[in-house]
Amino acid sequence: MASAPSKLYADDVSLVVVLLDTNPFFWSSSSLSFLQFLSHVLSFLNSILTLNQLNQVVVIATGYNSCDYIFDSSLDLKRSLENGRMPVMCSSLLQKLEEFSFKDEQLSKEEPEGRIKCSLLSGSLSMALCYIQRVFRSGALHPHPRVPIDSCYMGAQNSAFLQQASYITGGVHHKPQNLDGLFQYLMTIFAADLHSRSFLHLPKPVGVDFRASCFCHKNTIDMGYICSVCLSIFCKHHKKCSTCGSVFGQAQSEAASASDKKRKTPET
């Protein structure tokens, strides 16, 4: 799973921040191997850099316990990593990725078992947005960058969250059918810069799943319970809101039964 927010400097220059999902539990059971995935993605990143010499690519790894920057094309690349088989950027990225994976595993040892095996997407998304804000502060060309979030989803089902995020921010969401040709998907759909998107036709999904997800199990639901203070959504009735801590009052039906009980006692 990779998302790429990008911004316009001028014309067709883009800053692409890629959030790479490196959740090892997912990749060990995926139909596409991590090896193949990496080669597609690395080629894609390289191609972006060749499209325009002002383009910039930043990669953030989304792990199981932590997130970190593993590549920034605007920094000087170490010459010592050059080995002729691949561009220097790839080798530096892979080096950083390996180090990141070690650190992530170390953090796993402190975690209790039995946690849902999901990636820390919200964390890496926040990091990406902060990075973009910082770049804009120093660049001072656009006061508020427009950050479309593109999402490329690889998995069996559908992610309502990514669909909604892409729809709302004006990005493009796609779920590749043929994972062997992932590179082609990435190049056709996600490499287009924002300026060109105004006249390019990118594939639109059939529809967006606007359903909300419950906060307790992360399931998408049609009907649920909502805290009137903070608007958190739950699929089952809870006594207390887990987000804001407000205590929920008695349900209407419960109050009726309580008063029934009161009436009974004087008669008996």
Partner: protein, 597 residues
Amino acid sequence: MASRHVTKRAKYKTTIKDPGTPGTLRLTLEKILFVPHNPKSAGKLDVEFRFIKGQKHTKEGSNKPPWLNLTNNQNGSFIFEFENYSDLQYCRDFVGKVLAKSGEVSEKPTVTYPDEQLSAAEMELRIKLLQEDSELQKLHKQFVLSDVLTEAEFWATRKKLLDTEANKKTKQRLGFKSAMISDIRPSTDGRTNKVTFNLTPEIILQIFAEKPAVHRAFLSYVPNKMSEKVFWTKYFRAEYLHSTKNSIAAAAEAAEDEELAVFLKLDDILASEARWKIRRVDPTLDMEADEGDDYTHLPDHGIFRDGSKDMTESQNELYRRTLSQDINRHAAVVLEGRAVDVDLDDTRAVAEALAWSKQESSTKRESDGDTNQERLARVSRMTEIEDLQGPNNLPSAPLCIKDPRDYFDSQQANALRTSGDALGRTEQIKCSLSTQEVYGSLRQSISVIKAMGLKDPIVKPEVAHQVFDALTNSISTTKYHIGKNPHESVLDRLPKKTKDELLHHWTSILELLKHFWASYPITTSYLYTKVNRLKDAISNIYPQLEEIKGSVPSELRHQVSLLVHPMLQALDAAIQHYEADMQKRSTGSVDKPNGYV
């Protein structure tokens, strides 16, 4: 109610304190007729329903007797006391129906419900909101006037709208006009010698505020010494004399008529106020004001002139008034703001209220002991205009709830599932390997790539070709359906009428479903009837949607049915839930938790 008229015994009261004239009240569809039992008493009443604006009544549970209060257009009220509450209820329903019938023409929601006591102001607010927002009005017409939803239910979810409107009204206090309306120009009739002055309550208020001597005179003379009309006639006589700038004539008339003299003299209250104010100015701090500003004392405002010309006029000095004085006084009054807030029609009440507020401010002044302290306080005081300040609330981010119509065309058709299906589960990653193993395999992939480099070719040409074809295909089909412009939506291609109908149906379905789902679990019989009403309304929508599908040309029919699909699914889910619930109740097989009815 099939009856065309209602006859009940009642007592008619003109005010609440009035004991009431016993008699017979007869209500027909056009008028209200009250005939007292005693033919000699004066309480006969014959009013047409056209003039009745609204009704209020006392509540059954309270200790008050059963009263019905009908208000008419001129804010008068007719109070009827009934023998018991059921009579009251009967008449009330009748009046409500009549008003509602006339109200349908003018869109007035005048039918009151058992738990709703609306003031006229609230009803006006609702009418105003309905008039401003045509979408809201359509929904209101569709549901409330056809009895699917009650008035209370409709507005229960729109409290925020009602609150903001009410706040808007009372936010700012209106001040005085900056135009000097107290300086009234009379209209003259060319033929006769008559001069006509026009006086409105607003002008009266301004006159009292600007001319304290006139105010004092009013309080003391009216109604003891003279009537209001005579008072104003004298006042305008004085004004006329001033406008002719004939101070000799003014002096002559003042000598004759003592009351007129009051109006012609310089306002001594103002003069003393000005002197007092000047005394309070600290010459060490305020460089601008000094003794030379006390213009009321010095002749000719301290400007040296050749006094010989003015000798004859000095006796009549008292009767002269200058425009600059008037303007300054008016400006001071406008800036002070409106001190009274009473009904302007009653002049006496206005005068008294103004006097009371002045007294308040003067006692406040006298109580200040230390003038120095006062000066410092005055200097450091910040002038706040309260009604222009923002609300003092805690910082909060406003809630941004988007209009569901904006998202209508992007919905996924199979997104809404029926309640019987399992909820969408997140993809649970089934992994039998341990943490160590998975991390290990990840790192192994990385090292393999490092060693071998990137694949060559990165992607096989046939695969790339396939992917490219598939993508182009899907893009061209959407282009065919939606249009060349990538930002256009399918809705824009439909004829406007269809598009509006679809969006309206979408909003009304959302409204219905909101009330429908909120009524579950059904715990009272009220909710039960409500759910049945809503279910009937829901069933009526199906044929309407079919009709829309049929009304579009055939090439757009597929698009429209795709758009209509999520609406149908939502309705189906509701109906299914309703039927499942009905079944549970009838079989009684499910144990009833939480006091189910």
